[in-house]
């Protein structure tokens, strides 16, 4: 997921050197104060205020109507499913859900905003006062969530240059305009870039668990703005900057590491941090001033007169609360407690709902959680990483993996062959038995067959045999390898081992 270059020096334009030897990403003698604003696209079938579909990747401007294009005379009608998903998200994040909230207009001009205002929630958000927990050392750290509110997404601009100012022209796609979002604002409880990443990972897991969002950062369904300041331990809070355009978990960690180092460098040189909005430049690995305080937007929020207040029935909220699935923390604990998984493994598997579900379904068919966990932690994740896949895209059926594991247990295939079979299952989607049969990968336990290969190996490698007899235990490994090679990996390694020892006698007897 996030093989992150935590704390590594950032490239050109950054501070001269990255600080070392402290909490990754925070220079010695300093503390960082980090808050995150996360936008999560809700997995509704239709948009927030009209009936347009929300499918990602449709041809530009093919999922639009007069309402989401903001044509003269149109009116918004709230999507009940969006409200329900937002309430789910809020409850899963331990928030208080307001039975009375309202929609406000956030006014600013931008060409990808059809109305030049965005319908959002300002002073009476849908939910407040939640939290989530991230791992810290042996325990966990609670990150408080200040608020969660509903809003509509904007369209997308594609500039025929680096930005809107220098572009000769820009193209606009309004497919995304009006897709429902929740904005989740944390308290500034995050202390390191790594914690910021852990917070996002946990947030993503929770959103996926409760079916609120697929949180695909690469498709923009989870986006993040950063607020960060630095201070001396116990000292006064510093001036904070806001960093925008951070488009991956890795980028969040990098941008924070850069920005913290930058602020520290400014302060250590006797300067002052400007209150401003900065833009993360992924290519250059640095943040740049986007707009200073004087140019901060005045959004002129006011209640949207087209939308009555959002009044929720407490009974409905409770009904949603009851329908929440088991969330990652609870599931992790259960895996440790009931299945005996190591806490680390349980944490990794439950970090993704899809991975956890895959794990559990496999365990249902092959009830040896530890073996399944080893495979999921190992082979399954390796395959995903190598192919850049998300856990939702695991290409094998849990039942097939269970079959394979049973074959290993019965001795039908050895581990080495099983790995090969697994890769083939991923590639072809075929059941393991078929692959094993077709490739002739059944493990050979027939001693007479193996005996012949053992004898050949001994006869063909007198020098190695001599080494073994002189006491070099390692030499046995070579001979095992030769036997496996001769049997095309199908020999039962335990039988090979036993037969070799029988033939050669104990080591050091030559």
């Amino acid at each position: 997921m996030s093989e992150v270059q935590t704390g590594r020096p950032v490239r050109a334009g950054g501070p001269a050197s990255a600080p070392g030897g402290v909490a990754a990403g925070v220079p010695a003698g300093w503390e960082a104060v980090i808050g995150l604003e996360v936008h999560v696209e809700l997995s509704t079938a239709s948009k927030m205020f009209c009936n347009c579909p929300t499918r990602f990747g449709a041809p530009p401007n093919s999922q639009v109507c007069p309402v989401c294009l903001g044509l003269p005379g149109v009116l918004p009608v709230p999507n009940r499913q969006a409200v329900e998903l937002a309430v789910r998200a809020a409850l899963a994040l331990n928030c208080k859900v307001a039975t009375y909230s309202k929609f406000d207009r956030k006014n600013y001009f931008y060409p990808d905003m059809p109305k030049n205002y965005q319908i959002s929630q300002y002073d009476l958000p849908l939910a407040t006062d939640g939290y989530l927990e991230v791992p810290e050392g042996e325990g966990s750290r609670r990150i408080r969530i200040r608020r969660l509110h509903l809003e509509e997404d904007t369209g997308k601009s594609m500039h025929a240059a680096d930005d809107i100012v220098t572009a000769r022209y820009s193209l606009l796609d309004f497919n995304r305009a009006g897709i429902p979002l929740v904005e989740i604002v944390s308290e500034p409880d995050i202390a390191t870039p790594e914690q910021a990443r852990l917070y996002l990972e946990k947030l993503k897991a929770i959103m996926q668990y409760c079916g609120v969002s697929d949180c695909r950062m690469e498709e923009g369904s989870l986006r993040c703005d950063i607020n960060v300041s630095v201070r001396r331990p116990g000292g006064r809070a510093g001036t904070r900057t806001e960093v925008k355009n951070v488009n991956s978990f890795r980028a969040v960690e990098r941008a924070l590491t850069y920005e913290i180092a930058r602020q520290v460098e400014v302060l250590e040189a006797g300067g002052e941090v400007e209150q401003e909005t900065r833009h993360w430049d992924e290519g250059a690995g640095c943040t740049r001033t986007l707009r200073t305080k004087e140019y901060a937007h005045d959004y002129r929020y006011f209640p949207d007169p087209d939308l009555p207040p959002l009044v929720l029935d407490p009974a409905w909220i409770e009904e949603i609360r009851r329908s929440l699935p088991e969330l990652p923390d609870a599931r992790r604990e259960r895996y440790v407690r009931e299945m005996g998984l190591p806490p680390y493994d349980a944490g990794v598997i439950t970090a993704s709902r899809a991975l956890a579900e895959f794990f559990e379904e496999t365990v249902r068919a092959y009830p040896q959680p530890k073996t399944v966990s080893n495979w999921v932690m190992g082979e399954v994740r390796r395959y995903l990483n190598e192919h850049g896949l998300e856990p939702e895209q695991i290409p094998v059926r849990p039942a097939d993996l269970a079959d394979l594991l049973a074959m290993v247990e019965r001795g039908t295939v050895n581990m080495r062959a099983a790995r090969q079979v697994f890769t083939e299952m991923c590639e072809s989607g075929r059941p393991p038995a078929e692959i094993v049969r077709e490739r002739g990968l059944e493990q050979v336990s027939d001693e007479s067959l193996i005996e012949r290969a053992v004898d050949e190996a001994i006869a063909g490698n007198p020098a190695v045999v001599a080494d073994y007899r002189k006491g070099k235990e390692k030499a046995l490994g070579f001979l095992v390898g030769q036997v496996m090679k001769a049997t095309r990996g199908r020999a039962n390694p335990q039988v090979v081992n036993r037969l070799l020892r029988e033939r050669l006698g104990p080591p050091g007897t030559g």
């Binding site: 294009l69 030049n116 929020y301």
Partner: protein, 510 residues
């Protein structure tokens, strides 16, 4: 009148096409002088009327009546709620031509709000009220002139040309539904649609000597009405008689799922109460509406009207709406604030006028400076200011609080009175150009109508007399959803004054 005409068309005694032709020929002879229409859609109207005639002829041949009104004539998408919510309305206006204010969207017919910024703009959809009228068999003749974006009280703020008052063409027809009121007054169409944000239906009705109705906020769908001030806007009919008004209201009123502010309240058969006596009805006359600033001739006409009601057995008493004096100030904060946001979408990016300006900001400002007239720009600036950081509490928020007080005044009054009666406008129609240099004196023209919009209650303006040969309007206000009571009283007054001398002049030219 309309009901009889529709019945005659249904019976085949009058052809819908002939009626359209006669309207078109009257328009051809008079409208060059009056300037009621921005767009005439004569060909399509004739075609549609022809279809209606054919359909009716076919139905008569087959012995059945043209049940369900227009049957196969509906040329629309048939979205839910498209009939304006009142299924009983189907066929009520069979073959009746009408005109539509140019801020109400008509699919395929230009809708400009009398603004350069929307010149040539053709909406891809029709307002719910337009769909409803079409379903009821009405035939759209064209789009009427107005004050740009409904901001004005004289019709002189049209970006294209002013409309003249048919009763005296040196005078204004009132506004902002100037073309609609003048068209009905001149007998160009049997009825027209207007919109009323601060008096824009009632005040021109009063100036032109016709009936104008502003329904309860939420009674008529706003979907497709180009928003000026969303919390105040309501669509309403302009007609020659109260009965016509009741008939058209039956078609317009109803819940619309596309307008979240529309009320899910059953629509009574408004015509049923017409003719019922008003004996014992309690009418309050708010003294704040009869004092300083009201032209003596207007006051006398209204007092005479009150005597008519007394003669009909009503109890007429003076009462007080103590916060009336603040209503104008409240209105000129709330309405511009909402307008500043509602009109932000006219930026040259997606539709309407675009004036290039070097970069995006330049394009915005050139487009909006050239696209909007002086009054629209003035109100956008007022509204932007009222919502700005640091001023919001002192202006917008305070205005909303006072608005609540104005509303409470009415609630208290309606606990004692069935209806309130007052002048519609403090003066009769003034001369063209008389107030264009003095916005404040122009704003005063709506001083009697604005509180009604702030309170969201229904009110009608009916002709009640003359001053210097010009019509005086009587305003009858009722509690929320008391449209029937208002129409009942208005109708009783109309019948009681059928032979009045000022009526004869009013009928002239028809």
């Amino acid at each position: 009148m309309i009901a009889e005409t529709a019945a005659a068309i249904r019976r085949g005694e009058l052809r819908a096409r002939e009626l359209v032709e006669s309207c078109l020929s009257r328009i051809a002879s008079l409208d060059a002088l009056l300037g009621c229409f921005l767009t005439l859609d004569g060909e399509r109207a004739l075609e549609r009327a022809g279809h209606i005639d054919e359909e009716l002829a076919r139905a008569r041949q087959h012995g059945g009546r043209a049940a369900g009104g227009t049957g196969g004539l509906k040329a629309r998408g048939g979205a839910p709620g498209a009939s304006g919510g009142n299924q009983a309305g189907d066929g009520l206006l069979l073959g009746i031509p009408y005109a539509c204010k140019d801020n109400i969207c008509t699919r395929g017919v230009p809708t400009t709000c009398a603004s350069r910024i929307l010149e040539g703009y053709v909406p891809p959809y029709s307002a719910t009220v337009v769909e409803g009228l079409e379903a009821a068999g009405a035939v759209l003749l064209g789009k009427t002139n107005m004050d740009e974006f409904a901001m004005g009280s004289s019709g002189e703020n049209s970006a294209f040309f002013p409309t003249r008052n048919p009763r005296d063409t040196t005078r204004v027809p009132g506004g902002s539904s100037s073309g609609s009121a003048a068209a009905v007054a001149a007998g160009l169409v049997p009825f027209a649609l207007g919109s009323d944000t601060g008096g824009s239906v009632r005040q021109p009705a009063s100036f032109c000597g016709v009936v104008g109705f502003k329904p309860t906020y939420g009674r008529v769908s706003r979907y497709g009405l180009v928003a000026f001030a969303s919390s105040l806007d309501q669509i309403g009919p302009l007609t020659a008689t109260v009965e016509d008004c009741a008939l058209v209201m039956e078609v317009l009123a109803g819940h619309d799922p596309r307008d979240a502010t529309s009320a899910d309240v059953p629509v009574p058969a408004y015509r049923e109460v017409l003719g019922r006596e008003v004996r014992g009805m309690k009418l309050g006359v708010p003294r704040e509406y009869m004092g300083e600033g009201i032209e003596p001739g207007v006051r006398e006409a209204v007092e005479a009207a009150l005597r008519v009601f007394e003669d009909l057995g009503c109890v007429v008493e003076e009462c007080s709406l103590p916060h009336t004096e603040y209503a104008l100030a409240v209105y000129y904060l709330v309405a511009p604030a909402e307008a500043s946001s509602n009109l932000a979408r006219y930026d040259g990016v997606r539709y309407g006028l675009r004036v290039e300006g070097g970069d995006i900001t330049g394009m915005y400002s050139h487009t909006r400076r050239q696209g909007f007239g002086a009054e629209v720009r003035r109100r956008i600036m007022l509204g932007t200011y009222a919502l700005s950081a640091g001023y919001y509490d002192a202006y917008y928020l305070k205005a909303q609080k006072v608005r609540t007080l104005v509303k409470r005044d009415f609630e208290q009054a309606f606990s004692r009175y069935d209806l309130l009666v007052a002048p519609t406008s403090p003066t009769v129609a003034f001369r063209l150009g008389e107030r264009t240099e003095d916005p404040l004196s122009m704003y005063m023209a709506d001083v009697c109508t604005i509180p009604v919009n702030l309170a969201g209650i229904p009110a009608i303006s009916i002709p009640c007399g003359e001053e210097a040969g010009l019509p005086v309007g009587l305003q009858i206000m009722g509690p929320p959803f008391a449209e029937s009571t208002i129409l009942q009283a208005a109708h009783a007054f109309e019948r009681a004054t059928v032979g009045a001398s000022w009526r004869r002049r009013g009928g002239e030219g028809r």
